[in-house]
């Protein structure tokens, strides 16, 4: 989990940037407004929070050592 989670966050972030760029070129396709975007985006946000909390905890543990 510790190893895979940052990659998932990174990959999803890149995917959303690609979709954002596509949306700028053709807003009519509604890449950013349909549920098919909103659900993975919510998952991404939750994963980023989890990853951030884990990273902060790791950093604190390192400092404690």
């Amino acid at each position: 989990m510790k190893k895979i989670l940052p990659h998932i966050c990174l990959d999803m972030a890149v995917i959303f940037i690609v979709l954002w760029v596509l949306d700028r070129f053709n807003g009519a396709m509604q890449f950013l407004s349909r549920d098919v975007f909103k659900i993975p985006f919510l998952i991404f946000l939750v994963l980023v929070i989890v990853e951030s909390v884990m990273l902060i905890a790791r950093q604190r543990r390192k400092k404690d050592r």
Binding site: H7, L19, A28, R34, V36, P40
Partner: protein, 380 residues
């Protein structure tokens, strides 16, 4: 101490060996991104499309406008003698062979009398003339450009219809997928038809043949009112309640509106129309408005998948300038690009057509039969 360090070093080396190289990691991440985008495309383009567009039940439409009953050619002769009787001139000078009074069809039958016949249908390869409609189709060629203009006179708004892709008659809202324009045109007996605003893609304000189906503002709006006037609005200008209370016969959401209030070509378009990918030379479909009862439907040919087919298409500015030059006072672009399509006499006309239509705008010689809200029927 030295012995311990010696023990640690192989362990670290072993640990390093287990680590994935940066290059491999980047490749795997890229693969994951590609897979992710494809999964998104699967849901966005295929599964979500099916769910939203094929499986959704249509909302109950609200009747916003109905057209006044048209004085038909059969009914009118009963009225004409009554109108003729009170005039003293006819009594004073009785003619030996009284010429029958011409019966005009619809709201604008008399106004455009010279455009309509007295009942017969005159049809050529590129024109159609009857007591109700007069349509002339032009194929215009300029260097690197080909476009079709259908100049339309109608005696009544009942001959100006819209139809959804799937279903009987004018079709059912939000049901089914794209259908080839010639197929829809044949179903509704359209003389000329162009694709509409591809409403399913956005479900903006959708009012068709007097029925309101959806009222979420989306981009520029075009309204054709029951008095035959056509008006365009930007999303910011639009007053939805005022629009609804004005009883529009048709409302489309796409655009942009191409001419300003004075009928001059706009130099700036609100909405997504300024976006680079949409504004270059492209196949186009649009409607122009001269005055109530007189319109034109335009289809501009353009490249297909970047392949030159004799026409590069038009930018919005060029399209707007063309409408201004033709004397239109309002003009509005429907969905273009791969959606742009036109049919004439039920036959597909354009050459760059490769996507079906969700909805069409058409002119027919038979009155449009407006859909009736099923629930309203049962309630009423």
């Amino acid at each position: 101490m030295d012995a311990m360090e010696e023990k640690e070093i192989p362990q670290k080396r072993k640990h390093r060996k287990k680590r994935m190289s940066v290059g491999k990691m980047v490749v795997l991440d890229l693969l994951a991104i590609i897979v992710g985008l494809n999964v998104f495309a699967l849901f966005h383009h295929v599964l979500d499309y099916w769910d939203i567009h094929l499986g959704t039940t249509a909302p109950v439409p609200v009747v916003l406008a109905t057209l006044p009953p048209e004085p038909t050619a059969e009914a009118a002769p009963v009225e004409t003698p009554q109108q003729a009787e009170p005039t003293p001139e006819t009594d004073a000078e009785p003619s030996p062979e009284p010429t029958p009074t011409r019966v005009y069809s619809g709201m604008w039958g008399e106004k455009f009398a010279d455009k309509f016949t007295e009942g017969e249908v005159i049809q050529t390869e590129n024109s159609y003339q009857s007591a109700n409609v007069n349509i002339t189709l032009e194929r215009i060629e300029e260097p690197g450009l080909v476009y079709f203009v259908a100049d339309v006179y109608i005696s009544d708004l009942q001959y100006f219809g819209t139809a959804f892709a799937t279903g009987e008659g004018n079709g059912e809202y939000n049901v089914g997928t794209e259908v080839q324009i010639d197929e829809i045109a044949r179903r509704v007996n359209a003389i000329v038809a162009i694709n509409g605003d591809h409403y399913k893609l956005h479900n903006g304000i959708v009012i068709r043949n007097g029925l309101l189906y959806s009222e979420t503002p989306y981009e520029d709006v075009c309204a054709l009112y029951t008095d035959g006037t056509l008006e365009t609005y930007t999303k910011d200008e639009l007053d939805l309640e005022a629009l609804k209370s004005a009883a529009p016969w048709q409302v489309w959401s796409f655009g942009p509106g191409l001419l300003d209030a004075e009928g001059h070509a706009k130099t700036f378009y609100d909405s997504q129309s300024n976006v680079l990918s949409i504004n270059p030379k492209n196949p186009r479909c649009a409607i122009g408005y001269y005055e109530p009862g007189h319109y034109c439907l335009v289809k501009v040919e353009g490249n297909r998948w970047g392949k030159f087919i004799g026409s590069y298409g038009m930018t919005f500015s060029e399209l707007a300038a063309m409408f201004e030059a033709r004397g239109c006072v309002r003009a509005y672009a429907f969905d273009g690009g791969r959606s742009a399509a036109m049919s004439w006499m039920g036959e597909f006309l354009s050459t760059n057509y490769d996507r079906g239509s969700f909805d069409i705008v058409y002119i027919a010689d038979t009155p449009v039969v407006a859909n009736t809200p099923k629930s309203a029927e049962s309630e009423g």
